[in-house]
Symmetry: C2
Subunit: 353 residues, 2 copies
DNA sequence: TTTCTTTACGGGAGCGTTCCCGATACCGAA
DNA sequence: TTCGGTATCGGGAACGCTCCCGTAAAGAAA
């Protein structure tokens, strides 16, 4: 009852060797159909299931991959994780998840944990204040399969899965302009994070394209979460005149700002139009519903996982093993979608149909 | 570079046996301090880290636990998972997470996956339509450490971590009554789910205690997600007169209902006061902010994980091994908190300070 | 009959580690 | 000198499995 049947039990029962049982179970050619049948029957009767640990020891693989995310209570990364599961589970891989809590040192510990556990590969979206480039480099040098997604370091030669943050920030800002906004503020994320930098660039180039002045005082550097939205909105309120548009680096930031502004009698979108980034369920809950850029979260997970899986399997191929020439380094850019909602429908449309 | 140092490498380098190295690393008594020092030095130089797989094979433990949740994009279960991580990671255990998507068959597959992976224990919150009692029984009979949390089966003799759903539903309903509501509708979850049953009971007994009639037509059985809120609200609107209160089985249901009602010109809380259950970030985002019962998610995770850990470790104790007498079966009930917000502040308070 | 090939199976090493047990060497005591 | 004791170490099995290699039996080809 409590003891799990092993290959030895089957062998003993049939008076054959473990080798033969192993071959029968593995459906090899050099085993008599009769014995194979007998083996399978006994295996079924004893409810035999192979011991995954021994297989891992033998194959010198853990069949486990590690995923590091900044957090996963905001549904964005949770959805990505589901996409990754869809790829790895059918292939017999397990997934270990760790949160960096936006902290570089925690991220480093997570990576060490994964190394000690000898994961076969790592998927990572870097923390807000991360400067762990040296660690990524070491991992890559040690031949650890590694794929970045969503938040990626600039100067690392590794596979990445992203959306074109700059492009979609540009389009979101342009949308605000098209709605009649002329003084558009931007709540930017922290400096060195790829998504922050790119989205800020997109914002600026949209202004430039449409001949609007780039006013640095309208760019408020805060963070990525809701509290940052509050803080930014406080500064916003002190401006005279109030900007007529706001492009926030993330939805939570936008929502935090909206809450603060509404509490102070500012109407959205009439007084100020708002757009966020990275669709979340909140966007449809908040009032008015928030214009934002919807990312293909599930696909991001699937794509990143597939890239990693390629690296893992090709590593064991005798094809192109040690030479770096087997170029698995790819950057995949996925499409997104600008989800226009009421929070930004204003100005020339105001009072329209 | 690519090869990980083993105990053999150290032994070879120092011309001693692997046994001695093992003992030196394990800090045993019967090893010369000098050799121990030498071993540790070489280990450090070679960056030796023990191979977790071989340890698992030897110890006949996987140092892995499985967690089955209905979903984890709604932050509730995500927060619980973080609590579990806090317990297991420091002890060297890994966590495998699987979603049942509220489906019994998927849940069954998840459990089988965990069994095949030989997890040391399982934590589970059962799916909405689950009737996998036979499977839970089999797991328990096979000595699999098992702890239920949040959503638990009634008739299973296993450890459980819950909040008193009946009590808090009672208090939430009573709160609506105290606000002047006299015809309170209830959006109930599906029939057999523990939380649905208990919360419905709490709702009914609150009505009874305050001498209000229990009108079965006011109890609308839907689901647990936002769409159920829409559907319920549709039926609500057809009632004449409209109920003046609504207690929804979950926050998403409440929020879905609010959205529908607001779209149809119903004012909250003036026309109908609303309360939900299970705090989520949405509750503060939605307008008006939603009254709800806040659960100690992190503690639920910590508690469930601790109970499971106890079972796992005590199983390997020679103390009380095979006999069932070592009673690890416990039900822990954690406290919650009624979070009163504007969605339910009405009637006698209306127009007040 | 002899030789060769095919078919089917067993032996045993090895993955990395722990741990039981036996062996050696040295020391003081008889 | 001999003996029991202590400190230190090595040998080897074991965890469960795969896979390389060797080998026996049986049939086919010489």
């Amino acid at each position: 009852m409590t003891k799990r049947a092993t290959i030895k039990d089957i062998a003993h029962e049939l008076n054959i060797s473990t080798s033969t049982v192993s071959r029968a179970l593995a459906d090899q050619w050099d085993v008599n159909p009769d014995t194979r049948r007998a083996v399978l029957e006994v295996a079924k009767r004893l409810n035999y299931r192979s011991n995954p640990i021994s297989l891992r020891l033998r194959s010198r693989q853990t069949w486990t991959v590690g995923v590091v995310v900044p957090e996963f209570i905001n549904s964005y990364f949770a959805e990505i994780l589901i996409g990754m599961q869809r790829v790895f589970f059918p292939k017999g891989y397990n997934i270990l998840v760790a949160q960096s809590n936006e902290t570089a040192s925690v991220e480093e510990n997570n990576l060490k944990l994964f190394e000690n556990n000898m994961v076969d590969g790592i998927l990572i979206s870097v923390a807000q204040d991360s400067d762990n480039t040296a660690i990524y480099d070491r991992l890559l040098k040690n031949d650890m399969p590694l794929v970045f997604f969503n938040r990626v370091p600039e100067d690392i030669r590794a596979s990445k899965v992203i959306v074109d943050d700059r492009k979609w920030a540009f389009l979101a800002t342009e949308h605000l302009i098209s709605q009649g906004c002329r003084r558009i503020a931007h709540f930017a994320g922290n400096g060195n994070l790829s998504v922050s930098v790119e989205r800020r660039h997109g914002y600026i180039s949209a202004l430039k394209k449409h001949g609007l002045p780039v006013d640095e005082s309208l760019i408020i550097e805060a963070g990525l979460q809701m509290e940052s939205g509050y803080i930014g909105a406080m500064k916003l309120l002190q401006m005279d005149p109030l900007p007529d548009g706001l492009f926030a680096v993330t939805d939570p930031v936008a929502i935090g700002a909206m809450k603060f502004l509404k509490n102070h009698g500012i109407r959205i979108p009439e007084d100020i139009a708002v757009a966020g980034f990275t669709e979340s369920p909140y966007a449809t809950i908040v009032e008015p519903p928030l214009t934002t850029v919807r990312q293909p979260t599930f696909d991001i997970g699937v794509t990143a996982a597939t890239l990693l899986l390629d690296q893992i399997t090709s590593r064991h191929d005798p094809d192109k093993s040690d030479s770096w020439s087997g170029d698995n380094v790819r950057t995949v850019t996925l499409e997104a979608h600008l989800e226009v909602r009421e929070s930004s429908l204003c100005k020339n449309f105001r009072g329209g149909s």
